[in-house]
């Protein structure tokens, strides 16, 4: 298991740079896509539903599952391809914290709606991961 982490300082700093650059690009792509989210109405919880963020997260989960089961199947945690795509790009592209910021806003308007939204999104996320597994098998 030690091969998972034992890398020299030079390779470690290269990994940090790779994750930083690809993660930054992923974050920029997410921020640009989030501009398509309609403006929320202060009194209507349905207007706070994070459609765009959910689409971003679902696509990210689907693609990460698919590449981890396919092209990057035998790549260890510190392999450059895995650092670039999984830890970096898709790590920056998807966001868990923004989801909770939105759920917090819905919570202030309707507690059941917030819980329901969270459950539906988590269920859809698991389905996206499962679709990635099934897609990779074909």
């Amino acid at each position: 298991m030690t091969q998972l982490t034992h890398i020299g300082p030079k390779r470690f700093f290269r990994a940090v740079a790779l994750v930083g650059v690809s993660g930054g690009v992923g974050a920029v792509v997410r921020d640009l896509l989030l501009k398509f989210q309609p403006t929320a109405n202060a009194y209507d919880w349905t207007s706070h539903i994070p459609w765009v963020l959910t689409a971003i997260n679902l696509s990210g989960i689907f693609l990460v599952t698919r590449i981890l089961i396919g092209p990057l199947r035998h790549h260890t945690f510190n392999s450059e391809s895995r650092l670039f795509w999984v830890t970096g790009f898709f790590g920056g592209y998807t966001s868990y914290s923004s989801l909770f910021v939105t759920l917090g806003a819905i919570w202030h308007l309707s507690v059941p709606a917030s819980i329901l939204t969270a459950l539906v999104i988590i269920g859809a996320s698991i389905a996206a991961g499962a679709a990635g597994v099934i897609g990779a098998k074909k």
Binding site: A27, R30, T87, S97, F100, V101
Partner: protein, 120 residues
């Protein structure tokens, strides 16, 4: 300008998450993503704090940089939910279920904790 800063801080968030995951695996070699769970918790605490403290329109720019940029990079939905699916595929049902259940609950707790810390 904000977009550039979101990219820079998003990259920094990803680096912090990678270092956390790296250190967890260094001390306790594992294929389980506990470093990612910890990063998601830390990111939601910070996001909760920022949402409470940076709610004024004057802070909109800083809010974007911290919440969308840094917290967005620090937290990840892709690894947090793809890894449990892959664990389930290899019949590690307990780990998979534990990750799927604990991650959102911890993050919800982290968000509330962050808001609580900001209000004091």
């Amino acid at each position: 300008m904000t977009l550039l800063l979101v990219g820079i801080f998003g990259g920094l968030g990803c680096i912090v998450r990678y270092v956390m995951e790296f250190l967890v695996r260094l001390w306790h070699p594992t294929r389980r993503p506990w470093g990612t769970v910890a990063a998601n918790f830390l990111g939601t605490v910070l996001a909760g704090w920022a949402v409470y403290r940076l709610s004024s329109p004057i802070d909109a720019h800083l809010h974007s940089v911290i919440v969308t940029g840094f917290c967005g990079g620090l937290t990840t939905a892709s690894s947090a939910l793809a890894i449990p699916v892959l664990l389930a595929k290899s019949h590690h049902w307990k780990y998979s279920a534990a990750l799927i259940i604990t991650s959102p609950l911890l993050c919800a707790l982290g968000f509330v904790l962050g808001m609580g810390l900001a209000s004091h």
